[in-house]
Assembly symmetry: C2
Homo-oligomer: 515 residues x 2
């Protein structure tokens, strides 16, 4: 990719941004779209158009976002958004504090040297970003005392990073404590999730088992328990029943309406019983639905009984009468061996991954290790398939494989755009799919809550980033350079290593900025 | 060390054992020694001589030990002894189950081969244990299919080890649960240890701070708190006071006795006030002690006030009204950040390392890392000073350095004994002192309880054993052999490595047995 393609890529992205921004401004100013654009304001009972179109254009939106306090953010969008903002402002702070000191100091130091010009070439930069390289550490003569500036710079970046991360950590910790202590209680704060229930003693139901166990340990604070039950079958029948009830209500409404309009006896609605109501015998709708409902109710009751008796799984939610009791119970061991009565914080009910709750302790351990191995393979060897696909999708290859594209590709403007995007397309697709793959893998580990699975996926993604960007790109690059140097001069290993280490710091800065 | 010296060393140890055993039998049969030899029986109110000398000789003692059940052991000596017995029987079980299968199978396999005789020498065994080597894997020809027997043997040992360890773990877990649930309650089961109390708010005492904090969290189960206080000064004065009180009581008793014997007015005892009662003015003892006591009491009261006000440290014991509440509290987080209100299980009060309780969280962390570095250095480089000392203490060196020893050393019998012990003396002294050093290091880590420090020291000792015996002796030996082989034949590395791996298993077995 040459410098022109890079600028084209940048320009295209900016044009897309401007177009979308204008579209947003236009669409959000239509009163009919308020439910789409201001759902939160409507839910909170605020006027979505408070202040009229004067205050509702994209620029006031930005101004409002800038001027709102943290408490406003928490009130409007919840704790998660506020924490995300702390994260953003920490990263921005690291970048700004580093940049304010380092750019004015290091750019002149690098630019006023002339290593690249003097050498007439630079090993790593042939054909890529030649002009930008003059501003980088690569432009400094080997063993020059100017390198000390870059060494000091790495320490400055480290110091700023540690300090801001520590401040951010304390702040988030305070936000979290405030949320946990807020008078607005949530059901999950009173509950714990119990998994790995031991085998059922004879003549006892799951509920009795859980109740007697927790009542014995927490006689004062135990409230009640809810055993996780596989009600898929019963639910299906229930939904069928509800469907017929709705249809019956509609048929009755139709009948009642037809009555009032002149004809006192009305027209009883009829339907066909076959496929989609198009085929089969025509019958009276109200009678038909009533019959169906009568048929289904005993079936549902029978299924519900079977479900309660046979399909209660080895997990339960246990509720307490106080938040402190629940928090304390979630942190305590409840059984002699680690593989029974595993207790953890209860997540919000909508977050539970119900299918995972019944997975036993040792199976979870095994699943975890299998997933770890798969993730390790994915992280370390993902470049093999991507490299193969990239090699196939170069313009020259496309011309050979699909010759009918030739006239299109030969247009210069289009060629520039294609050259900017084509080589990366496999990588872009992979990077877009990777979080989904990692989330899927985290879920099959047996994790009980979606947010926990997301956290696990983020951890995996973190290893991907560290391993590939830092270790792969920088150390890999160093080794490659080293081997090339050794070929020429076996004594240069130490020089190359010494040069590459402070380079990683500036690279890290750029990387954080680009992310 | 030749084979004769080895046998001499073994014989000496056996003779010492027999002598001590006889001494024990003789001393323990004296009725006056019962408090020394049967303190436990006396404490439990049993007759130490139940059954007379017929049942109290060393052999019935052994028979009794063999026939007593686990419950007897727990009743007599507590849970720790029972757990130690489980550990012993597990190790013995591993050794026996491995030995029963492996010795009859592997010894003939090794002994009927003739690699050593055929080669006329064995690289690792020149001059050491030539006869025993014929029974080892070293006697098998390289690449012989007999080596499969040793490979299978390693799997058998692993299987036996895993199975017995799992059984032992479950058993100990049950013993521990029984002890925790026993109706015989212990004070530490109702308490938690709180460290890293935050800075005192103005106008509040430590006790108020701790009480209000825990009363808010556990309104129903909180009982009371006890702040750790540095009462060294007050205690010194108190002991002085008690000393004078005892002396006063003695003087009064002496005076009373002198009264009854004919003279109704009696002789008032006198003492000298100077050094050790030998110098100084002679005064009336009862008056002098009474004065001293009167002097000290207000001093003690003042010191006690100061102690309570100024010397209360940042740690406390918090007591609850139920065992469950205390166990649950000890496992829960009690503060937002990890470095305040650190809560842990309360150890027995006699086990507390009082000086460590006030060490702050971050200092503990730093101490831990410093200790880890010191331990790592000790474990890895201990051979350097020991090697130097050993090199100095050979017989030949001793003759040179201390020539007057020559006539003594030249006696053959004495020479054999000295040769058996001298080279190891530095190592023996080091190995004897190492546990004490490790315990000292564990204590300065800031661990709050003695038993916890002992556990930490055991962990460190474990790493010493693993690193030195397994890695040092076997891998080190392999590498040494490898380098020697490579000198002769660069292709033999793989052979040597392949040969040495199953060897480690038999070595492990011998090691376990010798321990």
């Amino acid at each position: 990719m040459d410098f022109d393609s890079f600028l084209t890529s940048l320009g295209t992205s900016f044009i897309i941004f401007v177009v979308l921004m204008c579209l947003f401004a236009w669409l959000s100013s239509k009163p009919g779209n308020t439910v789409v654009y201001y759902p939160n304001r409507i839910l909170k009972g605020l006027d979505p158009w408070e202040g009229g179109s004067r205050t509702r254009n994209p620029f006031t939106w930005i101004k409002e976002a800038m001027s709102s306090s943290e408490q406003d953010v928490i009130n409007m969008s919840g704790l998660d958004t506020a924490v995300y903002f702390v994260f953003m402002s920490t990263v921005l702070g690291i970048f700004a504090l580093s940049g304010i000191i380092l750019l004015p100091a290091l750019l002149p130091v690098a630019a006023t040297d002339d290593s690249i010009q003097a050498a007439g070439k630079n090993t790593t930069s042939i054909g890529t970003f030649n002009d930008l390289d003059k501003l980088s550490m690569g432009n400094i003569t080997a063993k020059s005392s100017r390198l000390w500036a870059f060494l000091v710079a790495t320490y400055w970046v480290s110091f700023v990073t540690y300090f801001l991360l520590w401040r951010g950590y304390k702040h988030v910790s305070e936000l979290r404590a405030d949320a946990l202590m807020s008078p607005e209680v949530r059901p999950q704060q009173f509950a714990v999730l119990v998994r790995d229930l031991p085998d059922l003693p004879k003549g006892q139901s799951r509920k009795e088992q859980v109740d007697s166990y927790f009542k014995a340990i927490y006689p004062d604070t135990f409230y009640r328990s809810m055993v996780v039950t596989n009600n898929k079958e019963a639910n299906k029948i229930y939904e069928e029943l509800e469907g017929y009830k709705k249809k019956l209500a509609r048929a009755e409404a139709v009948y009642a309406e037809s009555k009032s309009a002149g004809k006192p006896e009305g027209t009883r609605p009829t339907i066909k019983t076959g496929f989609l109501g198009l085929l089969g015998k025509r019958v009276d709708a109200i009678e038909y639905y009533n019959e169906k409902i009568k048929e289904i109710i005993p079936k549902l009751e029978a299924e519900q009984k079977i479900t309660l008796k046979e399909k209660q799984l080895g997990a339960a939610l246990v509720f307490f009468t106080s938040r402190v009791a629940a928090a304390s119970a979630a942190q305590s061991l409840h059984a002699q061996l680690v593989d029974t009565w595993t207790v953890s914080d209860a997540p919000e009910s909508r977050e539970l991954i119900w299918n995972n709750l019944n997975i036993k302790f040792f199976q979870r351990q095994i699943r975890q290790y299998v997933v770890y191995v798969i993730v390790a393979l994915t992280i370390m060897f993902y470049m093999i398939p991507i490299g193969l696909i990239s090699a196939l999708t170069t313009l020259d290859n496309l011309k050979k494989i699909l010759p009918f594209l030739k006239p299109v590709i030969n247009i210069t403007a289009l060629k520039t755009v294609l050259e900017a995007y084509l080589p990366q397309i496999a990588l872009i697709v992979f990077l877009a799919l990777l979080p989904k793959l990692l989330l899927f893998l985290s879920k099959i580990e047996g994790i009980p809550a979606v947010s926990h699975a997301v956290r696990a996926a983020s951890g995996k993604y973190f290893y991907f980033t560290v391993l590939n960007v830092f270790i792969g790109v920088t150390v890999g690059g160093t080794l490659f350079k080293t081997f090339k140097s050794i070929e020429k001069d076996p004594n240069s290993i130490v020089d190359v290593l010494a040069n590459s280490l402070p380079g990683n710091a500036t690279f890290f800065l750029t990387y954080v900025a680009l992310q």
